[in-house]
């Protein structure tokens, strides 16, 4: 055996060895903004996914193999999302990913996962574009912005009976998508918005915009965006003496909204669309109790991440850990989760939308409205 052949043989043995080692665990990525302005949401995803993985491992893992979570921080930056997606696929050998959070990150990352044949179950990105491109490996356990916009618009027209609606968005995939979806339904009801404008993410001074909202006599302000901008916006509205109702989507569902707005008195009366209280499902009672006993309140997207992890585990278990077959399997089977039974349509969206209206109170908490 020549030297070169020997080296090759040794190398292939080493590679085979590494492959066997890797198979002892099943690597699943958890991607989201663990740093940056939206780190509060990243924490929700991580807590949910971590608990789900621990529970599944305690029950014997997937087909007897333990889940090994790999954290991937995208900071809600599309560029960084692409690079962590590539890292998860290339060097971490993940078979599936729970994530990302921001639609603007999930969409580019989903292409990477599709090329690599990795299953993606998304807990939080609501932009229609994520699933509308027909990628076979992409699923989500949350709703879509057009569904969310429908709920918001019909509430505005039927219940609040607002006539002068100002629509503001943060010019991101998520924020503009949500605002556009809401606008479309609102116009369908025959209500034309009095104002439609964008603000710049990362800024804190929206006084000029607020004055403009006042000048068009808006009686309702609808904001498509995240709490980091919604907070200052609602505060400056009140500071300038506007009494317009403030409504937003699931981008503000975090206690940090109160901090950013400068206190509960500013968020009092703010409306928000979000999935029906995730902690209210009978199937999730035990898990919610365990979360609370450990001193963590499973707010916002925590249980969505838990659910996404269950969907990943169940589909992989049914298909002998083959992510491509798992995706095919999910298109035709339902999964029982802590948030009830989840069934996916051919695009990977849930077949049933569960958006409802919430309202923030003067103590800085949000409650589901009947």
């Amino acid at each position: 055996m020549s030297n070169a052949t020997l080296r090759k043989t040794l190398l292939s043995i080493a590679v085979a060895g590494a492959a066997t080692l890797a198979q002892a665990d099943v690597n699943i990525g958890v991607a989201g903004p663990f740093t940056g302005a939206n780190a509060a949401f990243g924490k929700q995803l991580w807590e949910g996914a971590k608990k789900a993985a621990a529970d599944i491992n305690a029950a014997g893992g997937i087909d007897g193999e333990k889940i090994n979570l790999i954290k991937a921080d995208d900071a809600c930056e599309p560029k960084q999302a692409l690079s962590v997606a590539n890292r998860l696929v290339d060097s971490d050998d993940v078979v599936a990913v729970v994530g990302h959070f921001c639609s603007s990150s999930s969409i580019p990352a989903s292409n990477v996962y599709a090329d690599a044949g990795v299953l993606m179950v998304n807990p939080a990105s609501t932009s229609p574009i994520l699933t509308d491109r027909g990628l076979p490996n992409v699923f989500r356990v949350c709703g879509r912005d057009d569904q969310q916009g429908d709920v918001a618009a019909s509430y505005i027209v039927d219940t609040l009976k607002a006539k002068r609606v100002a629509i503001i968005n943060d010019k991101t995939t998520y924020g503009k998508g949500l605002a556009d979806a809401m606008k479309k339904t609102l116009n369908g009801y025959g209500v034309k918005e009095v104002m439609y404008e964008g603000l710049t993410r990362g800024e804190k001074d929206f006084n000029a915009l607020v004055t403009k909202i006042r000048s068009v006599n808006a009686d309702l302000v609808y904001f498509g965006g995240l709490h980091s901008e919604a907070g200052p916006l609602v505060r400056q509205l009140r500071d300038q003496g506007s009494k317009a109702i403030f409504m937003s989507g699931d981008g503000i569902v975090s206690d940090e909204f109160v901090t950013v707005a400068g206190g509960a008195k500013y968020v009092n009366g703010v409306y928000m669309t979000f999935g029906a209280n995730p902690t209210s499902y009978p199937a999730g009672k035990a898990v919610v109790k365990e979360f609370r006993d450990s001193g963590y309140e499973p707010e916002g997207y925590t249980l969505y991440a838990y659910t996404a992890m269950q969907v990943v585990a169940e589909s992989l278990a049914k298909t002998n850990l083959d992510p491509v077959e798992a995706a095919t399997w999910l298109h035709s089977h339902s999964v029982n989760t802590v948030m009830g039974k989840k069934t996916f349509d051919k695009k990977g969206d849930l077949t049933v939308s569960d958006y409802v209206m919430y309202k923030w109170d003067d103590k800085g908490k949000y409650h589901q409205l009947d």
Binding site: K204, L209, S215, V260, G262
Partner: protein, 303 residues
């Protein structure tokens, strides 16, 4: 009418904050010809210091707003000034005689270090301070009204007082004379017995103090901040400095106010989507007509 007046108030307060931060850019550029890219992040640090000061003062039982404000201002200005001094000492002085490019890169590095240091030590989350001064004055104009919060009035008063004190220091005191001499000709100034290194240090301290003033005011007004706020604010203030003529002190203040007003008026009367496009187009236009900014002196090529 009421809307235009309200936009003028919005623009003036925003502009005076831009002006305060722009002073740091313009003074440093005037004296050593470099753009201190870490300056926006010094402003960001001062926002965190404001929250720390408020927490400390309330912890020790200080309740009345004027005392909290004065205590916070003193604490934040001193500590931020110290940051400015250290940054100059660590990142810029060792590179004093190397090419301009290395100092520029050192400044960008310093900016990243500050951002990441704050992110790691204070956490990446949004932070907030309680509302200390609420309430507003309302003027009725025709059918509508102009509403100005007490905080906004305070911002305008303190910002203009700060600029006034600074102008006095530069125009009338010995330190000011040394600054101006160093700005005109560093070598000659040092031959005539001025410790130029010390002057440069004090310029960094003064610039950082002005940023701290802005940091305290903005934090008290908006109530929230994160480790990334220095970036956008830094770019805007730098633009203000260039607009007014970089190197010129009154230019920085004027540039800040013009930028604030143009943003507010354009966002309020036309469209907030394109307010930055408008501000930067204005900048380009002014630089085409007056390449050294509104109040800047044209650079004389020394032969």
């Amino acid at each position: 009418m009421d809307i235009v007046l309200q936009q003028l108030v919005n623009g003036l307060t925003l502009g005076s904050v831009y002006g305060l931060i722009a002073i740091g850019y313009t003074m440093v550029y005037g004296i050593i010809g470099m753009i201190n890219f870490a300056h926006g992040d010094v402003y960001m640090v001062s926002a965190y210091l404001t929250a720390i000061a408020i927490a400390l003062l309330t912890f020790f039982g200080v309740q009345s707003f004027p005392f909290i404000l004065i205590g916070t201002l003193i604490f934040t200005i001193i500590v931020t000034g110290a940051y400015g001094w250290v940054i100059e000492r660590v990142a810029y002085r060792p590179l004093r005689n190397s090419s301009r490019l290395s100092v520029l890169i050192s400044a960008i590095g310093m900016s990243l270090i500050l951002q990441n240091y704050v992110q790691l030590s204070q956490g990446p989350n949004q932070q907030g301070v309680p509302t200390l001064l609420s309430g507003a004055i309302r003027f009725h104009v025709g059918d509508g009204f102009v509403q100005i919060t007490y905080m906004k009035i305070l911002i305008l008063l303190i910002a203009f007082a700060g600029m006034g004190v600074l102008t006095y220091i530069i125009q009338k005191t010995k330190l000011g004379r040394m600054c101006r001499a160093t700005q005109q000709d560093r070598k000659m100034a040092s031959i005539l017995g001025i410790d130029t290194d010390k002057v440069i240090s004090s310029v960094f301290v003064i610039g950082s103090s002005m940023a701290a003033l802005a940091g305290v005011l903005v934090t008290l007004d908006y109530g929230s901040f994160d480790f990334y706020i220095g970036f956008i604010m830094g770019i805007k203030a730098f633009t203000a400095a260039v607009l007014g003529g970089i190197g010129s002190l009154p230019g920085a203040m004027l540039g800040g106010i013009i930028l604030g007003l143009s943003e507010s008026l354009f966002a309020g009367l036309i469209s907030s989507d394109y307010k930055d496009v408008f501000s930067f187009s204005l900048l380009v236009l002014i630089l085409i007509i007056r390449p050294s900014g509104l109040l800047g002196k044209p650079a004389v090529e020394k032969v």
